[in-house]
Symmetry: C2
Subunit: 139 residues, 2 copies
Amino acid sequence: MTSGQPLPGGQEPTLTISEVVERTGLSHDTLRYYEKAGLIERVGRTTGNQRRYAAADLAWLEFLIRLRGTGMSIADMQRFAELRSRGGATVPERLAMLRAHRADLADRMRALRRNAAALDDKIDHYERLLDQPGTDDET
Amino acid sequence: MTSGQPLPGGQEPTLTISEVVERTGLSHDTLRYYEKAGLIERVGRTTGNQRRYAAADLAWLEFLIRLRGTGMSIADMQRFAELRSRGGATVPERLAMLRAHRADLADRMRALRRNAAALDDKIDHYERLLDQPGTDDET
DNA sequence: GCTTGACCTGGAGCGCGCTCCAGGTTCTAC
DNA sequence: GTAGAACCTGGAGCGCGCTCCAGGTCAAGC
C-alpha cells in the first residue's frame, strides 16, 4: 500500500511533490507554502507522511497558477479557495470574485498598453537621435 | 531670491515637492527615495535646503513612472538613469535597454492574455453552472 | 543493515519597493 | 515675533511572496 488516501473511482494516479514541481514549475517550498496557506486543501499523504498529489490537486494548482499569472494576490486566492471548499453554494460569490478580478485585469492591461506606447515613442525618439546625431535633445 | 538653482533660459518654473506629489501621484517619501536612489539627479534646493523641481525634472519623473508602469525594476531604472547622466554617448546602450525591456513586456503581455483567456473560460464555466444547476462539477 | 537522497516540519530570512518615524529646520501668515 | 504647516535627514519597519535552514524521518537500492 502506497497511498494514505481513499481511492474514489478505480485507480487514482498520484504524484510525488517532485513530480508536481516538474509539471507546474512551482518549487517544493512554494507547494508546501500554498498548502500551509490554505490555497490547496491538505494533500493526501503516504503512511510515512509524504505528500501524494491527485490529478484534481494538479488541476487546481494549475488554475491557481493562472490566477497568480493574472496578478491575483495570495490573500484573494485564499478567499477564493475557502469559498470553493465550502461547496457549490458559493458559486455565485466565486463568480463575482472572478468577474471583479477580470475587470481589474482589463484595467491593468489597458494601462500596460498605454505605458507600452510611451515606451515605443521613447524608442522611436532614440532611433531618430541615432540617425541624425546633430540634435542632442536630452529628455 | 527663492531658488538655489541656476536659471538656464529666462524664468524656469519650479515646483515644491507637494506640487510634484499632486502632479505625479507619487508620495513625498517616494520622491525623496527616488532621488536618494539616483533615479533622478539631485533636485535643486532653495537656500533653506527645500527641493524645487524644474519642468525637466517633472518630465523625467513622468517617464520613470511609465517605466515603472511597464514593470521595469528600480535597479534597471537606476542603470538607465546612470547612462542618461553620462550623456549622449550612451544613447545606443539606452536604446538597447529599452528594446530589451520592450520585448520582455511583450512577452508578459502575451502571457497575461493567455491567463486572461483561462480566467474567461472559468467565468463561463461558472455561468453555465448557475444556469443549469444540475451538474455540480467542482473543478 | 546501511547509505543516499527525497521528503517532512516550524520558523527565520530575504529582496523589493516603498512607508513611516524621530527629531530637527524652514516657510508662511498673521 | 510666533504659531503651525511644510519640509529636511538618516534610518528603521513593513507587506508581499516566496526561499532557506536546521534537524529530523522515510524510501529505495545494494
